[in-house]
């Protein structure tokens, strides 16, 4: 698994997650994800298209990051790319009703810029 990020000019931070976010893998990236979300200027898009497995620990890391950013007035959204298993995990846990999910990159980044 892996994590990398890039800041784009309009205040959006893109965080890309990769690989197997099982319980062990999610624990390994949770701290980095939290610090990247907390230090973002405004909005964050977390790209899950490279994720092959998403555990409840990974979901917890996403929810924690989204809550921390929201407390500062920012917004975290998710981008998925047709991965059935990732979408199913988001739906099973109800997280898709708490954190906006998009399959279009432009829509995701526009949503991340929207004030909460």
């Amino acid at each position: 698994m892996g994590i990398r990020y890039e800041d784009v000019t309009d205040g959006v931070r893109r965080i890309h997650l990769f690989g197997r976010l099982d319980t062990v893998g999610s624990e390994e990236i949770a701290g980095k994800l939290a610090s990247l979300a907390e230090s973002a200027k405004r909005g964050v898009v977390v790209y899950l298209s490279g994720v092959t497995f998403l555990s409840s620990m990974g979901i917890r890391a996403l929810v924690s990051a989204a809550k921390a950013l929201q407390a500062r007035g920012g917004r975290l959204v998710l981008h998925v790319d047709g991965s059935d298993v990732v979408v199913r995990t988001l739906e099973a846990t109800g997280v898709d009703e708490l954190i906006p999910v998009f399959d279009d990159e432009d829509e995701a980044e526009r949503a991340a810029m929207t004030s909460v």
Binding site: D22, V24, S56, R88, T93, G94, L98
Partner: protein, 152 residues
């Protein structure tokens, strides 16, 4: 037509340690593939296994951590319908993942209200077709089943 078991049940024993969860996953993928379980259903079992083991390691208590965890996989084939059963046996605190009283917490109305508990149980129930549980000899025996159809 009588039920037919394709192959004997296969087993793996792991330490009650998060680092062994990856080994368990690799065993599951390999064993299930060998028994003809379709990839999409291996993924379902793999998610359940990861969540069950996480529960054992985090909530099973000292008895769980001091003991090994036994995994068993079997596949039953009947005309048109196949079932893969993954059994997880641990010595942790008694916990029935299949009981409705241990169900996932209600979904929160907003992100601000969202807690972080119960997500694993929600996933186990969503990814499995059936769960059964028994407590025997001081051990939890959880059976996770997934089913699929197959041309005769």
């Amino acid at each position: 037509m009588p039920e037919r078991v394709e192959r004997p049940r296969v087993e793996l024993t792991i330490r009650a340690d998060a680092r062994d969860a990856r080994r368990a996953s690799e065993w599951l993928e390999s064993s299930a593939r060998d028994q003809g379980v379709p990839p999409a259903h291996i993924v379902r079992l793999d998610h359940c296994l990861d969540e069950v083991l996480a529960n054992v390691f985090m909530h099973g208590g000292t008895a769980a951590l001091a003991s090994s965890v036994l995994l068993q996989l079997g596949v039953r084939r009947r005309p048109g319908v196949c079932t893969a059963e993954l059994v997880v046996v641990d010595a942790g605190a008694e916990f029935d993942s299949s009981a409705s009283s241990n169900g996932p917490t209600p979904k929160p109305a907003s992100l601000a209200e969202a807690g972080l508990g119960g997500l694993g149980l929600a996933m186990i129930r969503s990814f499995s077709d059936d769960l059964s549980y028994r407590r025997s000899d001081g051990q939890n025996h959880l059976t996770i089943s997934v089913r699929w159809t197959e041309a005769a």
